[in-house]
């Protein structure tokens, strides 16, 4: 057991740092530091810079264009990228649909879809949740009926993140109603330009349009867009869900935000007579820092265990719960550090080229919307309550 890096690993780290210094888009860095929302262009620009370096397929097999990194290299990359204030990778294409395609898709599908995912040319979104199937995902009812060479899809998906940017959607659809509800679910890829698809924006309490309802009204989908076998969609998705949960922990992102928080606290501590940083608050900051170190080591232990060939157990649920609780705890610290100054709702201030006056103190801007929006993280990806059920089941068998 040791945590020091080998000379090769240190070399790799320098390479990553060099890349981040020279190639990471500056506009993205500004927005990240100022707590502003990224738009589609920002996210694509960042991911394409990775693609050009051959680093887009971080978890992908080498034969499909993966980076071929081991667990330590991945850790180094994400750690350095987060220190450089780069955003996480939008997961829907690169980390969610791609693994299903390269694991369960046929060769034609792999050739058709994977290159554009790797180069971030095509934007994907996820069609899992439905209005009446939240945590009980398997009870979904969007129907796909095979008629000749096409499926005809009818139903509604919801909480579809950034569907307004998407070229394609991967969906769990019901192709059979007879057996257990988990059976009869299939995994279907659907072009968002298909006639019969309509979007309805859902505005969240931070005033943003991030999620959508996607309606399918007799949408015609070529049968060769079905992944694997009919009725096996649930199995494919489950493999992915475990992965998704781990990703949701977002340890690197939390480290990044915690560093920003510490920098802002430092600024304030250097200001005479400032009222926000007191010993009660600092004890909460320290408690979060301890949880952050703990979570980072938990993640490293899990990655190390997976790397030595163990299957992930309840750990992915632990990472999901603790990771999202930590994100929310950091939000609360930002909020409380801002005090009264968190109240103004002026989302565009501090963006480059903003015409109005920016309100001081700068660190308070958008802390409240961020806090509001991030209440989602304990809800989505299988609510934290569901994760506890999963952990208990793995320990107790109940």
């Amino acid at each position: 057991m040791n945590i020091s890096f080998t000379p090769e690993e240190l070399l790799f780290r320098d390479q990553v740092r060099d890349f981040l210094n020279k190639r990471a888009p500056a506009a993205v860095k500004h927005k990240q530091t100022a707590g502003l929302r990224l738009d589609k262009h920002d996210m694509v620009a960042w991911q394409q810079s990775l693609f050009e370096e051959g680093w887009a397929g971080i978890n992908w097999p080498v034969e499909h264009g993966g980076s071929g990194w081991n667990a330590t290299q991945k850790y180094i990359f994400f750690d350095e990228a987060s220190k450089a204030n780069m955003p996480r990778i939008v997961p829907f294409g690169l980390n969610m649909v791609a693994p299903v395609i390269y694991k369960f898709g046929n060769e034609e599908q792999q050739k058709r879809f994977l290159p554009d995912i790797l180069s971030s040319k095509v934007w994907w979104c996820q069609g899992y949740s439905e209005p009446n199937a939240g945590s009980d995902l398997a009870s979904l009812s969007t129907k796909a009926e095979l008629q000749g060479d096409h499926y005809f899809v009818n139903g509604t998906k919801t909480w579809t993140t950034l569907a307004q940017y998407a070229d394609w959607i991967f969906c769990l659809v019901r192709t059979d109603n007879s057996g257990r509800k988990q059976q009869g679910i299939s995994f279907l890829l659907i072009n968002m330009n298909s006639p019969g698809i309509s979007l309805q924006p859902i505005i969240t309490i931070d005033g943003q349009h991030e999620v959508n309802e996607v309606h399918f009204d007799n949408v015609q989908v070529p049968a060769n867009n079905l992944i694997g076998e009919e009725g096996k969609g649930w199995t494919y998705a489950k493999v992915l869900l475990t992965h998704e949960r781990t990703g949701i922990a977002r340890v690197a992102e939390s480290k990044q935000r915690f560093c920003l928080l510490q920098a802002r606290i430092k600024e304030l501590q250097d200001t005479p007579d400032q009222p926000h940083v007191n010993s009660v608050f600092m004890a909460r900051v320290m408690a979060v820092e301890i949880d952050l170190v703990s979570l980072e080591y938990t993640e490293l232990r899990v990655l190390s265990s997976i790397a030595t060939g163990n299957a992930p157990g309840p750990e992915s649920s632990i990472l999901k719960i603790l990771g999202t609780e930590l994100q929310q705890a950091i939000d609360e610290l930002f909020l409380d550090l801002s005090g009264l100054h968190a109240l103004p709702f002026v989302p565009d201030q501090y963006s480059l080229g903003y015409a109005g006056d920016n309100l001081e103190p700068h660190y308070a801007a958008n802390t409240a919307p961020h806090y509001y929006n991030n209440r989602k993280v304990s809800i989505y990806g299988g609510s934290n309550e569901i994760q506890k059920n999963i952990i208990a089941k793995q320990i107790l068998g109940f």
Binding site: S129, N132, A133, G134, S135, D136, S139, T158, W159, I202, I203, T204, I205, D206, G207, V211, T271, D273, Q274, P275, H276, N278, S279, V280, F281, R284, E332, L335, D336, S338, G339, L340, H341, A342, L343, P344, F345, V346, G356, D357, L359, E360, P361, A368, P369, Y371, Y372, N373, R375, K376, S378, I379, Y380, S383, N384, E385, K388
Partner: protein, 371 residues
């Protein structure tokens, strides 16, 4: 010792409750949010007619002379309606500060107008580096031949965009002063904005603003202790509003648990969620107890009053987060959509927490006080 309400209080409570549920529904509020002003002037006049603006004001100044308990009961019900009118800024905070800091003439000049709904006020006290205790105040008022020259910047002045008059704190060579200032005076500029909870506020810059000597209200009184006392009353009013909101969130969550089905049954049948609701209920009861405690201590000496209001603010920081976050969590994704009321209650609770000192700041005050 008696914790029961008088018949008058119960009646008042019923009237407000009925008004809110009949006249101030969620759709009404949603449509007010999108107006330029952000609230309804008609509604404000109705508040005046109902006597709510007059309630906290002494009867010798055109008010109804209600007690802090009356104000508390009113605020609980207004909280349930998430009212957008600048009731807190004008009828609670400004009226209280005026009552405590001004002389009789000034009170006769302004309090009846507040009670009648004719004049709105806002208290411009917060600054970038000020705490809820206003011990630091960078805005200055320097003596001139005819009065004072105000210089400085105030942040997050609630109700400022609609205010007819401002109460401004500023440092003078004789300590903290409170000034009544016409917002249209030369040298005053406003940066108006909406707050996260849909209310309106402004950043106000005072650049060489000339005011008359008579604008200073605290001659003969201590501005610091008047501000301190009015802030404690404001805290009780805010905590009451928060309690009303939490009651609404508990009710909404209970209803949702009866409606929403997952895994083939009502989600309220899951024991973990049942206990979560029990936790919400206990949080509510604890908040209510400390609210009563603080309200009943408002008439005590400053030390006891400070202590009691800090206690309720610390508890509220904890319970309002628990209740707000749990309500959202149990509503699932719907809880953070703009179209459902739950998220709006949650946002208002969050903002109340940030007003008049955070839980941490009040805990720190209690610790400094005890040491």
């Amino acid at each position: 010792m008696d914790f029961s309400l008088s018949d008058d209080q119960t009646m008042m409570q019923d009237i407000v409750k009925r008004f809110i549920s009949q006249e101030y529904g969620f759709e009404t509020r949603q449509s007010l949010l999108t107006t330029k002003q952000g609230y309804s002037e008609d509604m404000w006049q109705t508040f005046a007619e109902m006597g709510w603006l007059a309630l906290p004001i002494d009867d010798q100044y055109g008010g109804l002379g209600g007690t802090i308990i009356d104000t508390m009961l009113l605020q609980i019900e207004l909280g349930k309606g998430l009212v957008l009118e600048p009731f807190f800024a004008t009828a609670i905070h400004s009226a209280s500060l005026l009552s405590k800091v001004a002389n009789d003439d000034v009170k006769q000049q302004w309090l009846p107008k507040i009670a009648a709904g004719e004049t709105k006020f806002a208290v411009a006290y917060a600054e970038q580096n000020s705490s809820f205790q206003v011990t630091q105040c960078a805005t200055s008022a320097s003596v001139t031949g005819t009065g004072y020259l105000l210089q400085g910047k105030k942040c997050v002045v609630l109700g400022a965009p609609s205010a007819d008059q401002l109460l401004v704190t500023a440092n003078t060579d004789t300590g903290l002063g409170v000034f009544v200032v016409d917002p249209s005076l030369a040298g005053i500029s406003f940066n108006n904005y909406a707050t996260n909870d849909g209310h309106r506020a402004a950043e106000i810059t005072f650049d060489q603003v000339e005011v008359l000597t008579s604008a200073r209200l605290d001659s003969g009184t201590n501005a610091q202790s008047a501000f301190d006392a009015s802030r404690d009353e404001a805290i009780v009013a805010l905590a009451a509003e928060a309690l009303g909101i939490m009651q609404k969130l508990l009710a909404a969550t209970g209803e949702h648990l009866h409606t929403r089905q997952q895994f083939g049954r009502k989600i309220g049948e899951f024991q973990v969620l049942q206990h979560r609701v029990a936790d919400m209920f206990m949080a509510l009861e604890s908040t209510q107890s400390l609210l009563y405690y603080a309200a009943l201590k408002i008439a005590s000496n400053a030390d006891d009053r400070n202590r009691a209001t800090s206690m309720v603010k610390v508890k509220l920081a904890q319970t309002s987060r628990l209740v707000g976050q749990t309500a959202v969590q149990l509503h699932g994704g719907m809880g953070i959509t703009d179209e459902l009321d739950v998220g709006h209650y949650f946002k208002r609770l969050t903002c109340i927490n940030a007003l008049m000192g955070s839980g941490d700041q009040h805990m720190q005050r209690l610790l400094n006080h005890a040491a």
